[in-house]
Symmetry: C2
Subunit: 193 residues, 2 copies
Amino acid sequence: MQEQKTPLSATDWIQAAFRALAKGGPQAIRAEAIARDLKVSKGSFYWHFKDVPALKLQMLEHWQRKATEAIIQLVDNSVASSVGRLHLLVEVASTTDTSAYGGVNVEAAIRDWGRYDEHAFAAVETVDEKRLHYVTELFSNCGIPEPQSRSYSRLLYGSLIGLEALSGHTKADRKNDLLGLLDLLLGGNKVVN
Amino acid sequence: MQEQKTPLSATDWIQAAFRALAKGGPQAIRAEAIARDLKVSKGSFYWHFKDVPALKLQMLEHWQRKATEAIIQLVDNSVASSVGRLHLLVEVASTTDTSAYGGVNVEAAIRDWGRYDEHAFAAVETVDEKRLHYVTELFSNCGIPEPQSRSYSRLLYGSLIGLEALSGHTKADRKNDLLGLLDLLLGGNKVVN
DNA sequence: CAAATTCCATACGGCACCGTATGTTGACTC
DNA sequence: GAGTCAACATACGGTGCCGTATGGAATTTG
């Protein structure tokens, strides 16, 4: 527990802002509220950022980078086949998802944010497009032709998003449901690893 | 265009509140802002409602009723088989969804709302449970055993939600993707209505 | 050690909203 | 045609937030 008065960085503020976003939605991204959470005054905020919109833009940039880095990391680490990569992708995404930052559903909160803010919408659009492109390629490598591979990637990715939004639904449920869907998409044969 | 000064009802306020919700999120449900939209003063609001939380509760009650009525209506109107009902369900839900009220994504906005408000969460939970129960029964009637029918209903309903959240994705895409998923879930045989 | 710079606290005016209190207007009642 | 009541409008104090301005401590730098 570092109780010392180590000076805050802009990244500290951004992380705290993501916690606020996850907990209270986009309108919870307020300078004074986050300052209270960090136990400093808002004078600190206006030293690190020009204003609240500037903070929001930096949050989106930050997330957009992290969200695509995660994919690249998975690509490189999993040296398996495309089928194995799909399974690994589903397994990782369905259990942890991108709960970096504060700990909870930052991903979903940003997606919500995109419904009310054009900048957030653009960020979500970019990330979705990159992820879908990657998954589509994986399906293509599994022998699925062009029009279907894109449809399958939308179904898999869309299901991941939708199942997270469902309420009475454990992580184990989610993982099983998504793995079942993947097997169906890949031809119904049970693929081991 | 009824430009007369016909007095407002509580339902008028609720509908306007749903428009505000869909456009600006839960924090956009404000008495004075909605009053401006309705071109009245907030004195009117505090005559119809005790306070803002009371309006929100009435909104949730209102939606919860409408959201389950829609299912019952579909059940009764479609006299086809269970397979036909599933197809009809997907077709209707993927194109129009529950865009009653103001015209746009009230459904998605309430789901977002549920992430930050416990009452909204409870409403979404109840509606999800009822819909999932209904779809599970349809799958059961198609000969799919218990553990899978529930998983399939989650997949279908979750995909519907998730695909709506995807950005670069037309309504036609959505419908095709979901019908394709349904065919996969029903055994891969193309079922014609 | 004096000066500059970093990092933050405090104080201010302004705005948007909340909820209440009270005034106003039309319709309807007898 | 005085009284009642529904359906507002208006005015008020209070709060939380924004952005700015300015002051101060702590560290670094010449």
